[in-house]
Symmetry: C2
Subunit: 489 residues, 2 copies
């Protein structure tokens, strides 16, 4: 027995950090990285009674609205409770609590789903859901019908992004252009798939983040020089982490650029319902491409997790394919079928969000009240965030035109950079960890998204409860201004 | 405009069947392949009024119980309706319809989930869910506690399998052993990840499918000769598509084999609740490994889609890691975090299934009645399937000891093989398509799972409604016996 144990002890594991692939090791996802680990340690200490300069942590690191108190839409949750427990439909006393329109919708949805929500749906998603998605897209863009056959549902937008990247990356020399800063999903998945992430800098001058086609062209030329076959471009609009809402002109230039250079567009449009600036509105790449009459190949992503619905945990989303070759679409369907189907409840929730009650329906007043309250609070907070951040020492913040984040630039002194180096941290992570330790606010350092060398940023969400939002920012201001005093060169 | 269109027309797409990766093109998933496409064509014709020798199609191709009429468990659906619509908890009139235990459970679950089911959970899954899973595993195996930190929830078992394969395949020379016949998820994912699927034949003699360590050794030696670095072995128990329930002796030999050869076990145990033979019971690889005292690295998969629950559409599942290196686990957590989290509703449903009402609780009588009815019907159908298939010409079928499928062998004549060749089909697919056209029964040809050269099989589920099950099999018998008459050599 002793020798057996000894032998086992000496035995090297098959799976070790050395034996697993470099693509896995190199993939990074900063939104849930080191800073969050530190936060979890603090959480543990807090619950054991250790005192900090704050009472509790505030998760400003991730776009998770309901975690921070945003209420779900009554319409969506009532609908889900009916399809998940159709026995409700046999109880008049229960139904008395449900508005007739959601009962009708629940019945209709169930009538269209053989076997109910417990059965696998078609791999692309339920017909009834894809029909509503297509109708929503048609109404949104006002440029002709969308075909449900081009829509693939998924568990959030992320698996759709993964599928699109799977067909865009066929060799280790295939490149995908991604904005800097970017939502790190893209970098992580491209690395995992052994493709080449090709960053292009966004322009942050004049108070607005914008896409700069000249930068894109420069980055493309550079990649070509390195024998990288760039096939696709990721555009995030409204921007994550940058919060910009692209103008139609800007978008047209991007489409021209892609058309000229033979590039597929991966349009991350999951924040399409999050536009706060009165002079801005969301326009889809689908609309731009149709109006320009190009045949640019497009994957467009939408999610149940953002907008005014914020149903992150339920995992719903989809992608729409446009101008994608039929044979390629067949391969995408095959990929979808390997994973069987996306969550039917995520699909149904998406249907309920995109096909909401209209003004003549009994659920409308509550629905519109909830929607308006959520969006107007986000709008007020986005404005306040911008204004207050710009009062802080060494911080400059562009307008938060949309999405759920500000991505301010923070100037860090030589002294701060040296202090960071001493503890083995990049300067922005050092700053963010100090902020965490002193305020309990969890941020994501700019390096997690990419930033121009020598500049430092952090991402902060606009999702904390409004009643304490100003106070939160003021406590952050206090930290920030002290930090810069302490590390003044 | 005309020239523009002309230019566009002439323009080659970026994504074409030629430009996408071979790994994508080569990945096959027969359960939803050509035969299903044919079935969809027939469905369309049927709905347009075309007549066939049958009134409707019967989907015996996929393990999708609720699609075929199996009812969901009341306990699970009541629980889900509470967590998804907590407003119910404020309505005494509604609550009067819910047993007090499920109300209490719903409240407890909600108390443990910050932000409710609409918030992202931790990437590994909700604490409260992983605690219940660990408790279930502990009770099942009776060999010491399971650690919730080793459990990762996922949307069905498939994404867990994908993650395990991601860390097991780090180069194109890395091999994964898979049984033949196998559930095609494995072959498809290994191919997608550019690894080497290394088949090993199962033994089908004497009325039982078993794992044959000699065959595994032979297959491993062969792979080594081809410079393939085999790191892991997939074992499916109870078997899909083969329906076997492995004996403890058989399992011990497999663990010894893996231990000796330095192989990680990927144990697909999603049918652990589907055992029908009175003399057989499910034993987990976890238990075997613990009892043997080896340090074999193990990933064990479980799903919400199978068992007596059959909640395919809700997408719940998990994997448990055992003896996996800490650094590798950290990488797996990072991979999970890229996709944020699995469906919270899938997680909750898994909790409700694995932590069901006990005999002292008011929900118990209905729960146990539903569970028993489902399992005993499956048992009766599994037996009837075996018996009736063995009365059919040229068909021999092993015992359906567990899971949801029979995988009978069908002898096809020279004449049948030639007829198949004429229409460009493999013989087993030809047979299965003929069966579809004449009976409306959708099967999966054996080639989709792998089979010994020169032998032909098909997979048929035991999930069709019991009241018409015998009739269904008799209509199949009629087809089969006629087929063999028609193609007699």
């Amino acid at each position: 027995m002793f020798f057996r144990q000894l032998r086992q002890f000496a035995k090297k594991k098959v799976l070790t950090i050395e034996s697993i692939g470099d693509n896995v090791k190199k993939a990074e996802y900063a939104v849930r990285g080191d800073v969050l680990k530190k936060a979890q340690e603090i959480q543990t200490s807090l619950s054991k009674g250790q005192t900090y300069p704050f009472k509790s942590l505030t998760a400003c690191n991730i776009g998770n609205p309901q975690f921070l108190g945003q209420k779900p839409l009554t319409w969506v949750r009532q609908g889900l409770s009916i399809v998940v427990n159709p026995q409700i439909l046999d109880c008049p006393e229960i139904l008395a609590y449900y508005p007739p329109d959601i009962i009708e919708r629940g019945k209709y949805l169930l009538s269209r789903i053989q076997g109910g929500v417990g059965a696998y749906s078609d791999s692309q998603g339920l017909d009834v859901v894809r029909e509503s998605i297509a109708k929503y897209i048609e109404d949104r863009d006002n440029i002709g019908p969308s075909n449900p056959e081009n829509i693939f549902t998924s568990n959030g937008a992320s698996p759709s992004v993964e599928t699109a990247l799977t067909v865009c990356i066929s060799s280790t020399q295939d490149g995908v252009m991604i904005p800097i800063p970017q939502y790190p999903l893209y970098n992580a998945l491209i690395t995992l798939k052994k493709g080449q992430p090709i960053g292009y800098y966004m322009d942050s001058a004049n108070g607005y983040w914008t896409m700069c086609v000249e930068e894109m062209q420069k980055s493309l030329e550079n990649a070509k020089k390195n024998n990288i076959n760039v096939k696709s471009v990721v555009v995030i609009n409204p921007g994550n982490p940058t919060g910009q809402v692209l103008s139609v002109d800007n978008m047209k230039k991007i489409v021209e650029f892609c058309d000229k250079n033979g590039l597929v567009i991966l349009a991350d449009e999951v924040y399409q319902d999050n536009v706060y600036m009165p002079n801005k509105k969301f326009t889809s790449f689908r609309k731009i491409i149709k109006e320009m009459g190009t045949e640019t190949e497009l994957f467009s992503f939408q999610s149940l997790s953002k907008g005014f619905y914020g149903e992150c945990g339920i995992r719903g989303g989809y992608m729409e394919l446009m101008n994608i070759d039929k044979d390629v679409k067949d391969q995408i369907l095959k990929l979808a079928s390997i994973m069987l189907c996306s969550s039917t409840l995520g699909q149904i929730a998406m249907e309920l969000v995109l096909n909401p009650p209209n003004p003549s329906m009994p659920s409308f007043p509550i629905f519109i009240k909830e929607k308006t309250e959520i969006l107007s609070a986000l709008k007020r907070k986005a404005l306040l965030m911008h204004d207050l951040l710009n009062t802080m020492d060494n911080i400059s913040c562009n307008y938060v035109e949309g999405a759920m984040y500000a991505m301010p630039c923070v100037k860090l002194s030589q002294k701060a950079c040296e202090a960071a180096k001493k503890v083995g941290l990049p300067p922005d992570k050092f700053y963010v960890i100090k902020a965490l330790e002193e305020t309990g606010i969890i941020l994501v350092p700019g390096s997690g998204f990419g930033q121009r060398p020598g500049t430092f940023h952090f991402r902060i969400t606009v999702l904390s409860p409004e009643e304490s939002f100003r106070e939160l920012l003021l406590s952050f201001k206090k930290f920030n201004d002290n930090f810069h005093k302490q590390y003044r060169d």
